[in-house]
Amino acid sequence: MGAENTGPDTARRRDVSARVRAGLDALERLVGGLGTAVLALVALVLLLFTAAACLVGVGLPAVPYALRVLRLVADRERHRLSRPGAELPGGGPPPGSLRAAATDRGVRRELPWLVTHATLGLFLGLLGLVLPINVLRDGSFPLWWRLLPEGEATASIGFPVVRDTVGALGVSLLGVGWLVLVLFATPALARLQEVPGRRLLAPEPGGDLVLRVAELTATRAAALDAHVTELRRIERALHDGTQNRIVGVSVLLGAARRAVARDPAGADAILERAQSAAEEALAELRAVVRSILPPVLTDRSLPDALASLAATCPVPVRVDADVPGRCAASVEATAYFVVAEALTNIARHSGARRATVLVRRAGDRLLLTVTDDGHGGAGERLGSGLLGIRRRTEAHDGTLTLTSPPGGPTTVEVSLPCGS
């Protein structure tokens, strides 16, 4: 109670004021609960009516509406019970049919809450309303009891019949009793009123794990998709690029061999072409290798890799990468390809005169920002490259934000968990 450097009187005063505040707070909660309890009662009656109508075969169309009302009231109570740090998330869209409702875990937990809150909750809420009124009524009873008709002057509980001042003072003592009850019992009553809501309207234990699993399943599928797309791209690059070049070399060598005896000068020209085709094949092979995993990224660091990436971009790029330590290899590779894709888009579509790549590490996240001064209006549908990058980012639990108003500037922001 913080009484070390103050007198015991101060401590007691604080104790009392805290008690009063707790009592008033509890009353407020009880009355608030009374509001949702009334709603719950209305919803309960509505549900019972709908159920009865279903039994005689005419209620089915009303089921979705009844369910919506149930979810609405439950969400109202969730909102009421939410405290900073302990929010009760809303139940989401209600099931649309009786069959869906029967298997909906949310509905199966909301129904018992509805019954409890519409009865016990309502009763407790009414107590919260009546108790302070009784405090005032009985406490001030000696002041006005004489105004009451003879024989009808009783305490709030209906007895005893007061006939003199002593009796009236006794009633005011009862008022003090009510006050004590308000101060000491209402917090417990308020808690009791909230128990069903906190138990039954909170997400099921493991419920957010279910959501997380669903999210992971989705991003995992997207990651595999991105992976297959990537493999297809590599296959295409090897197949249509490198392999064709080498076949070309073989064809030209065959032609040269046939020409050697007939036309040595012609054969030499063909050999010349064969050699340059072989050199092209090598260059393409290097490009493919670099597009799989850039050697500079594995041998050096992410800033070095980004610098060499910027050097090959036709638009002047300023790289500002301050990343102490290293992230997981797959995260660095993703960061690299995000920047590579962004720079490719800038060079191809943006009309920008300069671009900036900013890389920072904030806690366990790697933050990338690529900005250009082009004409903006970039969308993910324009090129599927950005979509692939988004999938790749989300597979790492990262986020990608593209801001590109018409007229520019275009900004791609990516946040990735470092994983190291």
Binding site: R236, H239, D240, Q243, N244, R245, I246, V247, G248, S250, V251, L252, L253, G254, A255, R257, R258, A259, R262, D263, G266, I270, R273, A277, E280
Partner: protein, 219 residues
Amino acid sequence: MRIVIAEDDALLREGLALLLRAESLDVVATTEDAATFLAAVDKYEPDVAIVDVRMPPTHTDEGIVAAVEARRRRPGLAVLVLSAYVEQAFATDLLAQGGARLGYLLKERVGRVEEFLSALHRVACGGTAIDPDVVAQLLARTRPDTRLERLSPRERDVLALMAEGLGNTAIAQRLFVTDGAVHKHIRSIFAKLDLAPTDRTDRRVAAVLHYLDDTARRS
């Protein structure tokens, strides 16, 4: 012999044309996609079309579709399909309607100019040219306990060359034996495999490939 080439890779297209022209063959058009290829077939009425399987826009089987269409427009057009990889299942599908005037070769066979030219001529003259890889795939897929086991090693060699589409004389040259010896081997092979003997090489190729494919499927 009038030839039209359909190949999307510029280097290969020009390399092929260079090689064929150096052999005094008449390359009347080189095209880079299915549409221009079909237009060239209509315009130049070629005898042979050399077609790449994967071409723009989807890089899947545009070449095959275009070749089938070209043959529909110009019956009797010989088609030599070139592919970066060969797939036996694809070859057997291709040969389902008979192998006359049809070839299916790996691209790099072009580099072995003599063999490529002989395959080209064979196809142009109504024969068949099947890539040795396809035949090898088929032979590898057949189970050891089939009738193929009854063939002698030399007969297996002859069978493989027969499946590629080679005629008796070509087989004899490859194996350094006489025509008569090849003839005898072939008779023996057909007897052992219970195939009806035929002297038309295109029917022979189809029969042999069909037989191999069947055995491979059953195993």
